[in-house]
């Protein structure tokens, strides 16, 4: 790849914060570092990955609104976690986390466990108990 071939396809994924660097050849055929704002195939692949995540969040949200899942499942998906990963952060078993994804069991949680969940999922306890309107 020559210097002038380094792709500059900006999909604003870097939010204008910085450019990444790629190795490419200069006029003399020597490798140099060249800044890039992105490349179409990378952008496509990254957007695809986010579509999957956003879809999961949407599904969770619908489940919570329908009363089939607790608000915890929405916040778990927003943090891109599954019960196993959330359980590791909580230091409890995945089965218990799965149990807390049921509305009735979530209702019965004590203040301490709620607080821990809130910390791990980076929300307040109040937010943890709700989902967006």
């Amino acid at each position: 790849m020559k210097k002038e071939e380094v792709p500059q396809d900006d999909a604003n994924l870097l939010e204008g914060k910085f450019k990444v660097v790629k190795y490419a050849l200069n006029e003399k055929g020597e490798y140099v570092k060249v800044p890039s704002v992105g490349w179409e195939p990378e952008n496509v692949a990254l957007e695809q990955a986010w579509d999957v995540i956003n879809e999961r969040v949407e599904v969770a949200l619908a489940e919570v609104r329908a009363g089939r899942a607790s608000s915890l499942s929405y916040h778990m998906e927003r943090n891109m976690m599954d019960p196993a990963l959330l359980a590791q952060h909580m230091g409890i078993g995945a089965r218990r986390v799965r149990k807390h994804l049921r509305p009735a069991d979530f209702e019965r949680l004590d203040a301490h466990t709620l607080q821990r969940y809130a910390e791990v999922l980076q929300v307040t306890v109040d937010q943890l108990k709700r989902v967006p309107e």
């Binding site: 790849m1 994924l13 870097l14 939010e15 914060k17 910085f18 450019k19 990444v20 660097v21 790629k22 190795y23 490419a24 050849l25 020597e30 490798y31 570092k33 800044p35 490349w39 179409e40 195939p41 990378e42 496509v44 692949a45 990254l46 695809q48 990955a49 986010w50 999957v52 891109m80 976690m81 990963l85 590791q88 952060h89």
Partner: protein
């Protein structure tokens, strides 16, 4: 907190990849000048493996490098650098030890999870727990950070850093941190480069099992050919997108390290006074371009914008060709590097 402010003069240079970037930046601080490509080459970081049995988010893992942390290990072995490595159970103990080392005037490398680094753009923040950064000071509640993939240094709040250092998942970061204890002033760089070069060529051309080394590329090609039939159109597209991300996203510097390795071959040609390696650098560049071409067409298919001539079959053909090319390349390189 009673710790005082402290700034260690640290020369931050932007890199294409985090581990090689941290090696280069940390070594320069200790008076050993190694570019990022040299760090990759001496640490024999380039590798290839496609592991259908190892899945992340239900998609098979394809890797263009050796295991995280191992570039550093091999680099140290080959140069005689001695690293102090630590991991912790208790986050507070991990932060206290960081403060102690900073107070000794030493910048500290550490393992973090990208998901918990607020200064990174949101689109890149996945649960990826093997991101290396250097902390080189603190001011009030904030730490000064040299993140090798960024163009400038940045800052992170103590609480956020603590979280990033203790992420769970694959792998747990366990507050891992490291800093050089001994950096030899008279390290034999020619010896180190020659060793790293031989090891890369050997690993790529002789590792047994079909999924490792350059023949692993053909192994993936054979599976990719039938992705649509085996996985269904939806999952096939996801697997393909995943493949592009592993190859091109932050962390490889493009084309799965091929261009950076080309730069390493160029530097080696000069360092070892072996002009023959320049020819290998050119060939590696051409192979990198083939990888890019593959990613480009894969991206089109992913987005369903493909013209009719791009199919899983045609992508597999391209990959097979790259695999053959690399097998020849690394075999010949192994011979030349002996």
């Amino acid at each position: 907190m009673s710790v005082s402010d402290r700034t260690i003069p640290f020369d931050h240079q932007q890199s294409a990849h985090c581990e090689t970037g941290v090696i280069s930046n940390l070594m320069r601080f200790h008076g050993m000048n190694v570019s990022e490509p040299l760090a990759l080459g001496i640490g024999s970081g380039l590798f290839y493996s496609h592991m259908p049995f190892l899945k992340v988010n239900g998609l098979p893992v394809t890797s263009y490098r050796i295991l995280p942390g191992h570039i550093f290990k091999r680099f140290s072995n080959n140069t005689g650098v001695r690293m102090k490595r630590m991991k912790f159970r208790d986050p507070l103990a991990a932060m206290a030890e960081l403060d102690r080392v900073l107070d000794r005037g030493l910048p500290v490398g550490m393992l973090t999870s990208v998901f918990y680094l607020p200064y990174l753009p949101k689109a890149f923040r996945f649960h990826f727990n093997a991101h290396n950064i250097v902390v080189f000071g603190r001011e009030g509640d904030e730490y000064l950070v040299s993140d090798p993939v960024m163009d400038a240094t940045t800052r992170i709040h103590r609480t956020a850093l603590m979280r990033a250092r203790f992420a769970k998942g694959m792998p747990n970061t366990n507050g891992r941190m490291y800093y050089p204890e001994v950096v030899p002033a008279d390290a034999d760089m020619r010896h180190a480069v020659a060793k790293g070069l031989r090891r890369t060529a050997r690993d790529m051309s002789t590792t047994p099992l079909p999924m490792f080394g350059s023949k692993g590329i053909g192994f993936l090609a054979a599976r990719l050919r039938h992705y649509e039939r085996d996985l269904g159109p939806e999952k096939a597209r996801l697997a393909l997108g995943n493949l592009i991300r592993m190859q091109e996203e932050i962390g490889t510097g493009g084309a799965g390290f091929r261009f950076m390795f080309g730069a390493f071959l160029q530097e080696s040609a000069a360092l070892l006074e072996r002009p023959g390696l320049k020819g290998f650098a050119l060939r590696m560049t051409a192979i990198g371009d083939q990888w890019r071409d593959f990613a480009y067409e894969a991206g089109r298919l992913c987005k369903d914008r493909a013209e009719s001539h791009i199919t899983y079959g045609s992508l597999a053909d391209k990959l097979t060709a790259i695999g053959r090319e690399e097998q020849r390349f690394f075999k010949e390189l192994a011979k030349a590097a002996r």
